[in-house]
Protein backbone atom coordinates (compact mmCIF):
# COMPACT_ATOMS: atom_id res chain seq x y z
CA UNK A 1 0.00 0.00 0.00
CA UNK A 2 2.80 2.29 1.08
CA UNK A 3 4.60 1.87 -2.19
CA UNK A 4 1.53 2.75 -4.15
CA UNK A 5 0.96 5.95 -2.24
CA UNK A 6 4.57 6.93 -2.54
CA UNK A 7 4.55 6.34 -6.28
CA UNK A 8 1.45 8.42 -6.60
CA UNK A 9 3.05 11.34 -4.86
CA UNK A 10 6.16 11.06 -7.02
CA UNK A 11 4.01 11.00 -10.14
CA UNK A 12 2.06 13.99 -8.96
CA UNK A 13 5.26 15.92 -8.32
CA UNK A 14 6.59 15.09 -11.79
CA UNK A 15 3.34 16.12 -13.44
CA UNK A 16 3.22 19.37 -11.53
CA UNK A 17 6.79 20.11 -12.59
CA UNK A 18 5.98 19.47 -16.24
CA UNK A 19 2.94 21.70 -16.10
CA UNK A 20 4.94 24.54 -14.61
CA UNK A 21 7.55 24.25 -17.32
CA UNK A 22 4.96 24.31 -20.10
CA UNK A 23 3.07 27.16 -18.48
CA UNK A 24 6.30 29.16 -18.31
CA UNK A 25 6.84 28.42 -22.01
CA UNK A 26 3.45 29.85 -22.91
CA UNK A 27 3.75 32.95 -20.82
CA UNK A 28 6.41 34.55 -23.02
CA UNK A 29 4.22 34.32 -26.14
CA UNK A 30 2.58 37.70 -26.45
CA UNK A 31 3.56 38.26 -30.08
CA UNK A 32 0.90 36.18 -31.72
CA UNK A 33 0.31 33.20 -33.91
CA UNK A 34 0.25 33.13 -37.70
CA UNK A 35 -1.76 30.27 -39.10
CA UNK A 36 -0.87 29.04 -42.58
CA UNK A 37 -2.70 26.29 -44.38
CA UNK A 38 -2.33 24.71 -47.80
CA UNK A 39 0.08 23.21 -50.32
CA UNK A 40 2.13 20.26 -49.16
CA UNK A 41 4.74 21.16 -51.77
CA UNK A 42 5.49 24.34 -49.88
CA UNK A 43 6.33 22.49 -46.70
CA UNK A 44 10.06 23.09 -47.06
CA UNK A 45 9.80 26.76 -47.94
CA UNK A 46 7.35 27.52 -45.16
CA UNK A 47 9.33 25.39 -42.73
CA UNK A 48 12.51 27.38 -43.29
CA UNK A 49 10.69 30.74 -43.34
CA UNK A 50 8.99 29.77 -40.09
CA UNK A 51 12.31 28.93 -38.46
CA UNK A 52 14.08 32.09 -39.54
CA UNK A 53 11.05 34.28 -38.75
CA UNK A 54 10.54 32.82 -35.30
CA UNK A 55 14.24 33.14 -34.53
CA UNK A 56 14.22 36.82 -35.44
CA UNK A 57 10.86 37.68 -33.89
CA UNK A 58 10.57 36.60 -30.30
CA UNK A 59 7.12 35.59 -29.23
CA UNK A 60 5.69 34.89 -32.67
CA UNK A 61 4.65 31.42 -33.74
CA UNK A 62 3.94 30.25 -37.26
CA UNK A 63 1.77 27.18 -37.67
CA UNK A 64 1.55 25.23 -40.90
CA UNK A 65 -1.20 22.84 -41.81
CA UNK A 66 -0.24 20.74 -44.87
CA UNK A 67 -3.60 20.09 -46.48
CA UNK A 68 -3.14 20.84 -50.17
CA UNK A 69 -3.53 23.97 -52.30
CA UNK A 70 -7.29 23.68 -52.76
CA UNK A 71 -7.99 23.23 -49.07
CA UNK A 72 -5.65 26.08 -48.18
CA UNK A 73 -7.45 28.46 -50.53
CA UNK A 74 -10.82 27.47 -49.08
CA UNK A 75 -9.45 27.83 -45.56
CA UNK A 76 -8.32 31.42 -46.10
CA UNK A 77 -11.57 32.47 -47.76
CA UNK A 78 -13.50 30.98 -44.84
CA UNK A 79 -11.22 32.72 -42.39
CA UNK A 80 -9.86 29.53 -40.87
CA UNK A 81 -6.26 30.63 -41.37
CA UNK A 82 -4.32 33.86 -41.87
CA UNK A 83 -2.42 33.01 -45.01
CA UNK A 84 -3.31 30.33 -47.53
CA UNK A 85 -0.54 28.50 -49.40
CA UNK A 86 -1.05 27.44 -52.97
CA UNK A 87 1.33 25.89 -55.47
CA UNK A 88 -0.85 26.94 -58.41
CA UNK A 89 -2.19 30.28 -59.62
CA UNK A 90 -5.56 31.35 -58.27
CA UNK A 91 -8.42 30.78 -60.67
CA UNK A 92 -10.36 33.79 -61.91
CA UNK A 93 -13.45 32.97 -59.85
CA UNK A 94 -11.30 32.60 -56.74
CA UNK A 95 -9.89 36.08 -57.31
CA UNK A 96 -13.38 37.45 -57.90
CA UNK A 97 -14.41 35.74 -54.67
CA UNK A 98 -12.20 38.17 -52.78
CA UNK A 99 -8.76 36.56 -52.71
CA UNK A 100 -5.40 38.02 -53.67
CA UNK A 101 -2.38 36.07 -54.80
CA UNK A 102 1.16 37.11 -54.02
CA UNK A 103 3.83 35.02 -55.66
CA UNK A 104 6.37 34.11 -53.02
CA UNK A 105 8.75 32.04 -55.11
CA UNK A 106 9.09 29.80 -58.14
CA UNK A 107 9.44 26.07 -57.98
CA UNK A 108 11.59 24.95 -60.89
CA UNK A 109 11.71 21.26 -61.67
CA UNK A 110 14.68 19.96 -63.62
CA UNK A 111 14.36 16.95 -65.90
CA UNK A 112 17.52 14.93 -65.40
CA UNK A 113 19.24 12.12 -67.29
CA UNK A 114 22.55 10.28 -67.05
CA UNK A 115 25.51 12.43 -68.19
CA UNK A 116 26.34 9.86 -70.92
CA UNK A 117 22.89 10.16 -72.47
CA UNK A 118 23.25 11.85 -75.90
CA UNK A 119 19.81 13.45 -75.51
CA UNK A 120 20.05 16.91 -74.03
CA UNK A 121 16.83 18.57 -75.07
CA UNK A 122 13.15 17.61 -75.06
CA UNK A 123 9.90 19.52 -75.32
CA UNK A 124 7.09 19.27 -72.79
CA UNK A 125 4.86 17.16 -75.04
CA UNK A 126 7.67 14.63 -75.53
CA UNK A 127 8.38 14.52 -71.81
CA UNK A 128 4.70 13.84 -71.20
CA UNK A 129 4.69 11.12 -73.89
CA UNK A 130 7.73 9.52 -72.29
CA UNK A 131 6.24 9.55 -68.81
CA UNK A 132 2.89 8.15 -69.93
CA UNK A 133 4.58 5.28 -71.75
CA UNK A 134 3.83 6.36 -75.32
CA UNK A 135 7.54 6.63 -76.06
CA UNK A 136 9.48 3.80 -74.49
CA UNK A 137 12.82 3.88 -76.25
CA UNK A 138 15.49 6.57 -76.24
CA UNK A 139 16.06 6.03 -79.98
CA UNK A 140 12.66 7.65 -80.66
CA UNK A 141 13.95 10.94 -79.30
CA UNK A 142 17.45 10.79 -80.76
CA UNK A 143 19.17 8.72 -78.11
CA UNK A 144 20.66 5.25 -77.93
CA UNK A 145 18.58 2.15 -78.54
CA UNK A 146 17.72 1.65 -74.89
CA UNK A 147 14.47 1.27 -73.02
CA UNK A 148 13.62 4.42 -71.09
CA UNK A 149 13.54 3.91 -67.33
CA UNK A 150 11.13 6.32 -65.68
CA UNK A 151 12.11 7.49 -62.25
CA UNK A 152 9.77 9.60 -60.18
CA UNK A 153 8.69 10.48 -56.68
CA UNK A 154 6.20 8.83 -54.35
CA UNK A 155 2.50 9.61 -54.39
CA UNK A 156 1.82 12.79 -52.46
CA UNK A 157 5.24 14.32 -53.06
CA UNK A 158 5.17 17.99 -53.99
CA UNK A 159 7.74 17.58 -56.74
CA UNK A 160 5.69 14.79 -58.29
CA UNK A 161 2.55 16.84 -58.02
CA UNK A 162 4.32 19.80 -59.64
CA UNK A 163 5.84 17.77 -62.45
CA UNK A 164 2.62 15.94 -63.27
CA UNK A 165 0.48 19.05 -63.19
CA UNK A 166 2.85 20.99 -65.45
CA UNK A 167 3.18 18.19 -67.98
CA UNK A 168 -0.49 17.23 -67.72
CA UNK A 169 0.25 13.65 -66.73
CA UNK A 170 -1.60 13.40 -63.42
CA UNK A 171 -2.12 9.81 -62.33
CA UNK A 172 -1.08 8.33 -65.68
CA UNK A 173 2.70 8.22 -65.32
CA UNK A 174 4.12 4.74 -65.70
CA UNK A 175 6.92 4.92 -63.17
CA UNK A 176 9.50 2.21 -62.98
CA UNK A 177 10.80 3.58 -59.69
CA UNK A 178 9.04 5.76 -57.16
CA UNK A 179 11.66 7.09 -54.76
CA UNK A 180 11.08 9.01 -51.58
CA UNK A 181 13.70 11.73 -51.81
CA UNK A 182 15.34 14.03 -54.30
CA UNK A 183 18.71 12.56 -53.37
CA UNK A 184 17.56 9.05 -54.21
CA UNK A 185 16.31 10.20 -57.61
CA UNK A 186 19.66 11.83 -58.39
CA UNK A 187 21.62 8.74 -57.31
CA UNK A 188 19.39 6.39 -59.30
CA UNK A 189 19.56 8.48 -62.45
CA UNK A 190 23.31 8.93 -62.14
CA UNK A 191 23.79 5.17 -61.95
CA UNK A 192 21.58 4.21 -64.89
CA UNK A 193 22.40 5.46 -68.42
CA UNK A 194 18.85 4.85 -69.63
CA UNK A 195 17.05 6.59 -66.78
CA UNK A 196 15.14 9.85 -66.76
CA UNK A 197 13.98 11.57 -63.59
CA UNK A 198 12.85 14.87 -62.21
CA UNK A 199 14.05 16.81 -59.20
CA UNK A 200 13.85 20.22 -57.68
CA UNK A 201 16.10 22.54 -59.68
CA UNK A 202 18.24 23.52 -56.69
CA UNK A 203 19.12 19.90 -55.94
CA UNK A 204 20.62 19.05 -59.32
CA UNK A 205 24.29 18.11 -59.17
CA UNK A 206 27.01 17.36 -61.67
CA UNK A 207 26.40 13.62 -61.45
CA UNK A 208 23.33 14.06 -63.66
CA UNK A 209 22.52 16.15 -66.71
CA UNK A 210 19.59 18.57 -66.61
CA UNK A 211 17.78 18.62 -69.95
CA UNK A 212 16.89 21.76 -71.84
CA UNK A 213 13.13 22.00 -72.13
CA UNK A 214 11.82 23.67 -75.30
CA UNK A 215 15.38 24.86 -75.86
CA UNK A 216 15.83 26.50 -72.48
CA UNK A 217 18.15 25.23 -69.78
CA UNK A 218 16.89 25.44 -66.20
CA UNK A 219 18.53 28.25 -64.28
CA UNK A 220 17.54 30.84 -61.77
CA UNK A 221 16.91 33.46 -64.46
CA UNK A 222 15.03 31.23 -66.87
CA UNK A 223 12.83 29.93 -64.08
CA UNK A 224 12.15 33.45 -62.86
CA UNK A 225 11.22 34.88 -66.28
CA UNK A 226 9.21 31.82 -67.22
CA UNK A 227 11.15 30.84 -70.34
CA UNK A 228 11.92 27.52 -68.66
CA UNK A 229 8.54 25.88 -68.78
CA UNK A 230 8.68 23.32 -66.00
CA UNK A 231 8.00 25.70 -63.17
CA UNK A 232 5.08 26.67 -61.01
CA UNK A 233 4.42 29.44 -58.54
CA UNK A 234 4.38 29.21 -54.77
CA UNK A 235 1.57 31.59 -53.87
CA UNK A 236 0.59 33.31 -50.65
CA UNK A 237 -3.19 33.69 -50.66
CA UNK A 238 -4.79 36.48 -48.63
CA UNK A 239 -8.18 38.18 -48.49
CA UNK A 240 -8.44 41.21 -50.72
CA UNK A 241 -10.47 43.52 -48.53
CA UNK A 242 -9.68 42.34 -45.05
CA UNK A 243 -6.35 43.41 -43.55
CA UNK A 244 -4.08 40.77 -42.07
CA UNK A 245 -3.60 40.62 -38.33
CA UNK A 246 -0.53 42.45 -37.07
CA UNK A 247 1.38 39.21 -36.62
CA UNK A 248 0.37 37.80 -40.01
CA UNK A 249 1.30 41.06 -41.76
CA UNK A 250 4.68 40.93 -40.13
CA UNK A 251 5.28 37.39 -41.40
CA UNK A 252 3.93 38.26 -44.84
CA UNK A 253 6.27 41.25 -45.10
CA UNK A 254 9.20 39.16 -44.02
CA UNK A 255 8.44 36.30 -46.43
CA UNK A 256 8.14 38.64 -49.44
CA UNK A 257 11.17 40.75 -48.54
CA UNK A 258 14.68 40.25 -49.88
CA UNK A 259 15.71 39.17 -46.37
CA UNK A 260 13.93 35.88 -46.98
CA UNK A 261 15.70 35.14 -50.29
CA UNK A 262 18.43 33.01 -48.79
CA UNK A 263 15.94 30.98 -46.82
CA UNK A 264 13.80 30.40 -49.90
CA UNK A 265 16.81 29.34 -51.93
CA UNK A 266 17.84 27.01 -49.15
CA UNK A 267 14.47 25.35 -49.48
CA UNK A 268 15.11 24.65 -53.16
CA UNK A 269 12.90 27.36 -54.65
CA UNK A 270 13.72 30.47 -56.66
CA UNK A 271 12.67 33.73 -54.97
CA UNK A 272 10.86 36.41 -57.00
CA UNK A 273 12.58 39.76 -57.28
Amino acid sequence: MNIKRRLQSVMAAVMAGLMMVSAAGCAGNDGGTIATDGSTSMEKVIGILKETFEAANDGYTVTYNPTGSGTGITAVSEGRCDIGLSSRYLKEDEKEGGLTETILAWDGIAIVVHPDNPVSELDIATIAAIYTGEITNWSAVGGNDEEIVLIGREAGSGTRDGFESITGTEDICKYRQELTSTGDVIVSVSSNPSAIGYASYEAVQDSVKALRVDGVAPGEDTIKDGSYAVRRPFVLVTKTDEPLSEAAQRFFDYATSSEAHDAIKQAGAVPVE
Binding site: G156, Q177, N192
Partner: protein, 288 residues
Protein backbone atom coordinates in the same frame (compact mmCIF):
# COMPACT_ATOMS: atom_id res chain seq x y z
CA UNK B 1 14.55 -7.35 9.06
CA UNK B 2 11.41 -5.42 8.42
CA UNK B 3 13.40 -2.83 6.50
CA UNK B 4 14.90 -5.40 4.10
CA UNK B 5 11.49 -6.82 3.43
CA UNK B 6 10.14 -3.42 2.62
CA UNK B 7 13.06 -2.72 0.30
CA UNK B 8 12.43 -6.06 -1.37
CA UNK B 9 8.83 -5.04 -1.82
CA UNK B 10 9.77 -1.75 -3.45
CA UNK B 11 12.22 -3.40 -5.82
CA UNK B 12 9.68 -6.04 -6.65
CA UNK B 13 7.17 -3.32 -7.41
CA UNK B 14 9.62 -1.50 -9.66
CA UNK B 15 10.31 -4.62 -11.66
CA UNK B 16 6.63 -5.33 -11.94
CA UNK B 17 5.97 -1.85 -13.30
CA UNK B 18 8.84 -2.08 -15.76
CA UNK B 19 7.60 -5.46 -16.93
CA UNK B 20 4.10 -4.15 -17.33
CA UNK B 21 5.37 -1.23 -19.41
CA UNK B 22 6.35 -3.65 -22.17
CA UNK B 23 3.03 -5.41 -22.04
CA UNK B 24 1.32 -2.04 -21.98
CA UNK B 25 3.13 -0.89 -25.11
CA UNK B 26 2.19 -4.03 -27.00
CA UNK B 27 -1.44 -3.62 -25.99
CA UNK B 28 -1.40 0.07 -26.80
CA UNK B 29 0.06 -0.48 -30.27
CA UNK B 30 -2.33 -3.34 -30.99
CA UNK B 31 -5.39 -1.41 -29.91
CA UNK B 32 -4.26 1.72 -31.73
CA UNK B 33 -3.56 -0.16 -34.95
CA UNK B 34 -6.89 -1.95 -34.86
CA UNK B 35 -8.83 1.24 -34.11
CA UNK B 36 -7.11 3.27 -36.79
CA UNK B 37 -6.82 0.44 -39.32
CA UNK B 38 -10.34 -0.95 -39.38
CA UNK B 39 -12.33 2.09 -40.65
CA UNK B 40 -10.55 2.29 -44.00
CA UNK B 41 -10.89 -1.45 -44.55
CA UNK B 42 -14.63 -1.16 -43.97
CA UNK B 43 -14.92 1.93 -46.16
CA UNK B 44 -12.94 0.42 -49.03
CA UNK B 45 -14.40 -3.05 -48.55
CA UNK B 46 -12.29 -5.93 -47.18
CA UNK B 47 -12.33 -7.78 -50.49
CA UNK B 48 -11.36 -4.76 -52.60
CA UNK B 49 -8.70 -3.83 -50.07
CA UNK B 50 -7.04 -7.20 -49.60
CA UNK B 51 -7.47 -8.58 -53.13
CA UNK B 52 -7.55 -5.45 -55.24
CA UNK B 53 -4.66 -5.42 -57.68
CA UNK B 54 -4.34 -1.69 -58.17
CA UNK B 55 -3.04 0.89 -55.72
CA UNK B 56 -3.48 4.50 -56.77
CA UNK B 57 -3.94 6.41 -53.56
CA UNK B 58 -3.60 9.95 -54.88
CA UNK B 59 -5.44 9.51 -58.18
CA UNK B 60 -8.60 11.49 -58.88
CA UNK B 61 -10.51 8.25 -58.36
CA UNK B 62 -8.35 6.52 -55.80
CA UNK B 63 -8.02 2.77 -55.69
CA UNK B 64 -6.74 0.94 -52.67
CA UNK B 65 -5.90 -2.65 -53.55
CA UNK B 66 -2.98 -4.06 -51.57
CA UNK B 67 -2.66 -7.53 -53.07
CA UNK B 68 0.55 -6.51 -54.87
CA UNK B 69 2.08 -5.42 -51.54
CA UNK B 70 1.02 -8.57 -49.74
CA UNK B 71 2.40 -10.86 -52.43
CA UNK B 72 5.60 -8.82 -52.70
CA UNK B 73 6.18 -9.04 -48.96
CA UNK B 74 5.60 -12.81 -49.02
CA UNK B 75 7.79 -13.42 -52.07
CA UNK B 76 10.49 -11.07 -50.84
CA UNK B 77 10.66 -12.72 -47.43
CA UNK B 78 10.64 -16.22 -48.95
CA UNK B 79 13.41 -15.21 -51.33
CA UNK B 80 15.49 -13.74 -48.54
CA UNK B 81 15.00 -16.91 -46.50
CA UNK B 82 15.83 -19.11 -49.50
CA UNK B 83 19.11 -17.28 -50.00
CA UNK B 84 19.94 -16.35 -46.42
CA UNK B 85 19.12 -19.51 -44.47
CA UNK B 86 21.32 -21.99 -46.37
CA UNK B 87 24.25 -19.58 -46.34
CA UNK B 88 23.75 -18.60 -42.71
CA UNK B 89 23.09 -22.10 -41.49
CA UNK B 90 26.09 -23.66 -43.22
CA UNK B 91 28.29 -20.81 -41.99
CA UNK B 92 27.08 -21.52 -38.48
CA UNK B 93 27.87 -25.25 -38.79
CA UNK B 94 31.32 -24.42 -40.12
CA UNK B 95 32.09 -21.82 -37.47
CA UNK B 96 30.70 -23.86 -34.62
CA UNK B 97 32.17 -27.25 -35.49
CA UNK B 98 34.93 -27.07 -38.07
CA UNK B 99 36.63 -23.69 -37.91
CA UNK B 100 39.82 -23.09 -35.98
CA UNK B 101 39.69 -20.77 -33.03
CA UNK B 102 41.31 -17.84 -34.82
CA UNK B 103 39.02 -18.02 -37.85
CA UNK B 104 36.06 -18.31 -35.56
CA UNK B 105 37.01 -15.22 -33.58
CA UNK B 106 37.50 -13.14 -36.70
CA UNK B 107 34.29 -14.43 -38.31
CA UNK B 108 32.26 -13.81 -35.17
CA UNK B 109 33.50 -10.24 -35.03
CA UNK B 110 32.56 -9.77 -38.66
CA UNK B 111 29.08 -11.17 -38.08
CA UNK B 112 28.53 -8.85 -35.11
CA UNK B 113 29.66 -5.94 -37.20
CA UNK B 114 27.27 -6.93 -39.98
CA UNK B 115 24.43 -6.94 -37.46
CA UNK B 116 25.34 -3.44 -36.35
CA UNK B 117 25.24 -1.80 -39.77
CA UNK B 118 22.21 0.50 -40.01
CA UNK B 119 19.66 -0.54 -42.60
CA UNK B 120 19.94 2.73 -44.50
CA UNK B 121 23.57 1.83 -45.21
CA UNK B 122 22.51 -1.53 -46.62
CA UNK B 123 20.05 0.38 -48.77
CA UNK B 124 22.61 2.88 -49.97
CA UNK B 125 25.19 0.25 -50.86
CA UNK B 126 22.47 -1.77 -52.55
CA UNK B 127 21.39 1.26 -54.54
CA UNK B 128 24.88 2.17 -55.69
CA UNK B 129 26.39 -1.28 -56.25
CA UNK B 130 23.72 -3.98 -56.35
CA UNK B 131 21.09 -2.24 -58.48
CA UNK B 132 23.44 -1.24 -61.34
CA UNK B 133 25.08 -4.67 -60.97
CA UNK B 134 21.80 -6.50 -61.52
CA UNK B 135 21.03 -4.22 -64.44
CA UNK B 136 24.28 -5.15 -66.17
CA UNK B 137 24.32 -8.82 -65.21
CA UNK B 138 20.81 -9.60 -66.45
CA UNK B 139 20.81 -6.98 -69.20
CA UNK B 140 17.55 -5.39 -68.10
CA UNK B 141 16.70 -1.68 -68.30
CA UNK B 142 16.69 -1.13 -64.55
CA UNK B 143 18.07 -3.15 -61.67
CA UNK B 144 15.78 -1.87 -58.91
CA UNK B 145 13.71 -4.99 -58.46
CA UNK B 146 12.36 -7.70 -56.20
CA UNK B 147 15.60 -9.62 -56.72
CA UNK B 148 17.68 -6.73 -55.40
CA UNK B 149 15.44 -6.49 -52.34
CA UNK B 150 15.73 -10.25 -51.73
CA UNK B 151 19.51 -10.11 -51.83
CA UNK B 152 19.71 -7.12 -49.50
CA UNK B 153 17.27 -8.76 -47.08
CA UNK B 154 19.19 -12.04 -47.23
CA UNK B 155 22.38 -10.25 -46.20
CA UNK B 156 20.55 -8.38 -43.47
CA UNK B 157 19.15 -11.53 -41.87
CA UNK B 158 22.46 -13.43 -42.02
CA UNK B 159 23.77 -12.21 -38.64
CA UNK B 160 20.73 -13.29 -36.64
CA UNK B 161 20.61 -16.66 -38.40
CA UNK B 162 24.32 -17.33 -37.91
CA UNK B 163 24.43 -16.17 -34.30
CA UNK B 164 21.37 -18.00 -33.04
CA UNK B 165 22.25 -21.18 -34.97
CA UNK B 166 25.77 -21.08 -33.60
CA UNK B 167 24.58 -20.71 -30.03
CA UNK B 168 22.34 -23.74 -30.34
CA UNK B 169 24.98 -25.78 -32.15
CA UNK B 170 27.52 -24.93 -29.47
CA UNK B 171 25.07 -26.10 -26.83
CA UNK B 172 24.83 -29.64 -28.22
CA UNK B 173 26.45 -31.92 -25.56
CA UNK B 174 29.84 -33.10 -26.66
CA UNK B 175 28.95 -36.66 -25.58
CA UNK B 176 26.46 -36.96 -28.45
CA UNK B 177 29.13 -36.16 -30.98
CA UNK B 178 31.72 -38.34 -29.27
CA UNK B 179 29.32 -41.27 -29.30
CA UNK B 180 28.63 -40.80 -32.97
CA UNK B 181 32.32 -40.55 -33.81
CA UNK B 182 33.05 -43.64 -31.72
CA UNK B 183 30.48 -45.56 -33.70
CA UNK B 184 32.50 -44.86 -36.83
CA UNK B 185 30.69 -41.88 -38.35
CA UNK B 186 32.87 -39.28 -40.05
CA UNK B 187 32.93 -35.78 -38.51
CA UNK B 188 30.75 -34.29 -41.24
CA UNK B 189 28.21 -37.12 -40.87
CA UNK B 190 28.23 -36.50 -37.15
CA UNK B 191 27.57 -32.78 -37.52
CA UNK B 192 24.69 -33.18 -39.92
CA UNK B 193 23.08 -36.27 -38.42
CA UNK B 194 23.69 -35.69 -34.71
CA UNK B 195 24.55 -32.07 -33.92
CA UNK B 196 22.14 -30.38 -36.30
CA UNK B 197 19.08 -32.45 -35.30
CA UNK B 198 19.92 -31.86 -31.65
CA UNK B 199 20.10 -28.10 -32.29
CA UNK B 200 17.08 -27.91 -34.56
CA UNK B 201 14.87 -25.89 -32.23
CA UNK B 202 17.51 -23.19 -32.02
CA UNK B 203 17.97 -23.24 -35.76
CA UNK B 204 14.22 -22.93 -36.28
CA UNK B 205 14.28 -19.97 -33.88
CA UNK B 206 16.97 -18.44 -36.07
CA UNK B 207 14.71 -18.78 -39.09
CA UNK B 208 11.84 -17.13 -37.18
CA UNK B 209 14.07 -14.20 -36.31
CA UNK B 210 15.16 -13.96 -39.94
CA UNK B 211 11.58 -13.98 -41.22
CA UNK B 212 10.64 -11.36 -38.66
CA UNK B 213 13.45 -9.04 -39.61
CA UNK B 214 12.94 -9.55 -43.34
CA UNK B 215 9.21 -8.91 -43.39
CA UNK B 216 9.50 -5.85 -41.18
CA UNK B 217 12.38 -4.13 -42.94
CA UNK B 218 11.47 -0.94 -44.75
CA UNK B 219 14.37 1.45 -45.22
CA UNK B 220 16.84 -0.72 -47.09
CA UNK B 221 14.13 -2.30 -49.21
CA UNK B 222 12.69 1.06 -50.15
CA UNK B 223 15.98 2.10 -51.68
CA UNK B 224 16.50 -0.92 -53.92
CA UNK B 225 13.07 -2.23 -54.90
CA UNK B 226 11.81 0.61 -57.10
CA UNK B 227 8.55 1.15 -55.18
CA UNK B 228 6.11 0.94 -58.07
CA UNK B 229 2.91 -0.83 -57.03
CA UNK B 230 3.29 -3.69 -59.53
CA UNK B 231 2.35 -7.32 -59.06
CA UNK B 232 5.57 -9.04 -58.00
CA UNK B 233 8.01 -10.42 -60.55
CA UNK B 234 11.67 -11.14 -59.99
CA UNK B 235 12.83 -8.25 -62.16
CA UNK B 236 9.83 -6.00 -61.58
CA UNK B 237 9.87 -2.82 -59.59
CA UNK B 238 7.83 -3.67 -56.50
CA UNK B 239 6.46 -2.18 -53.30
CA UNK B 240 6.41 -4.03 -49.97
CA UNK B 241 3.81 -3.65 -47.21
CA UNK B 242 6.39 -1.80 -45.13
CA UNK B 243 7.54 0.53 -47.90
CA UNK B 244 3.97 1.32 -48.91
CA UNK B 245 3.39 2.71 -45.44
CA UNK B 246 6.77 4.38 -45.08
CA UNK B 247 6.87 6.08 -48.46
CA UNK B 248 3.42 7.66 -48.39
CA UNK B 249 2.90 8.41 -44.72
CA UNK B 250 4.56 11.80 -44.65
CA UNK B 251 2.19 13.49 -47.10
CA UNK B 252 -0.92 11.43 -46.71
CA UNK B 253 -4.31 12.65 -45.61
CA UNK B 254 -7.86 11.42 -45.19
CA UNK B 255 -8.73 7.98 -46.47
CA UNK B 256 -5.23 7.53 -47.87
CA UNK B 257 -3.75 7.90 -44.39
CA UNK B 258 -6.33 5.57 -42.91
CA UNK B 259 -5.58 3.04 -45.62
CA UNK B 260 -1.89 3.22 -44.69
CA UNK B 261 -2.83 2.34 -41.12
CA UNK B 262 -4.82 -0.57 -42.52
CA UNK B 263 -1.73 -1.75 -44.39
CA UNK B 264 0.21 -1.55 -41.13
CA UNK B 265 -2.54 -3.60 -39.48
CA UNK B 266 -2.28 -6.24 -42.21
CA UNK B 267 1.50 -6.33 -41.73
CA UNK B 268 1.03 -6.67 -37.99
CA UNK B 269 -1.43 -9.53 -38.38
CA UNK B 270 1.02 -11.19 -40.76
CA UNK B 271 3.88 -11.04 -38.28
CA UNK B 272 1.62 -12.34 -35.52
CA UNK B 273 0.54 -15.27 -37.71
CA UNK B 274 4.08 -16.11 -38.69
CA UNK B 275 5.23 -16.02 -35.08
CA UNK B 276 2.31 -18.14 -33.92
CA UNK B 277 2.80 -20.63 -36.73
CA UNK B 278 6.51 -21.05 -36.18
CA UNK B 279 6.11 -21.18 -32.40
CA UNK B 280 3.56 -23.92 -32.89
CA UNK B 281 5.90 -25.86 -35.12
CA UNK B 282 8.72 -25.44 -32.62
CA UNK B 283 6.62 -26.64 -29.71
CA UNK B 284 5.42 -29.70 -31.58
CA UNK B 285 8.95 -30.64 -32.50
CA UNK B 286 10.07 -30.03 -28.94
CA UNK B 287 7.44 -32.44 -27.65
CA UNK B 288 8.56 -35.17 -30.01
Amino acid sequence: MKKTRRLEGIIHGCFLILGLITVGFVLLITVYLVISGIPAIIEIGPKEFLFGKRWASTAAEPEYGILPFILTSIYGTCGAIAIGVPVGFLSAVYLSKLAGRRIRTVAEEAVSLLAGIPSVVYGLVGMIILVPGIRKLFDIPDGASLLAAMIVLAIMILPSIIKVSMTSLDAVPKEYEDASLALGATPVETYFKVSVPAARSGIAAAVVLGVGRAIGEAMAVMMVSGNAANMPGLFESVKFLTTAVASEMSYSEGLQRQALFSIALVLYVFIMLINALLNGVLKKRGEK
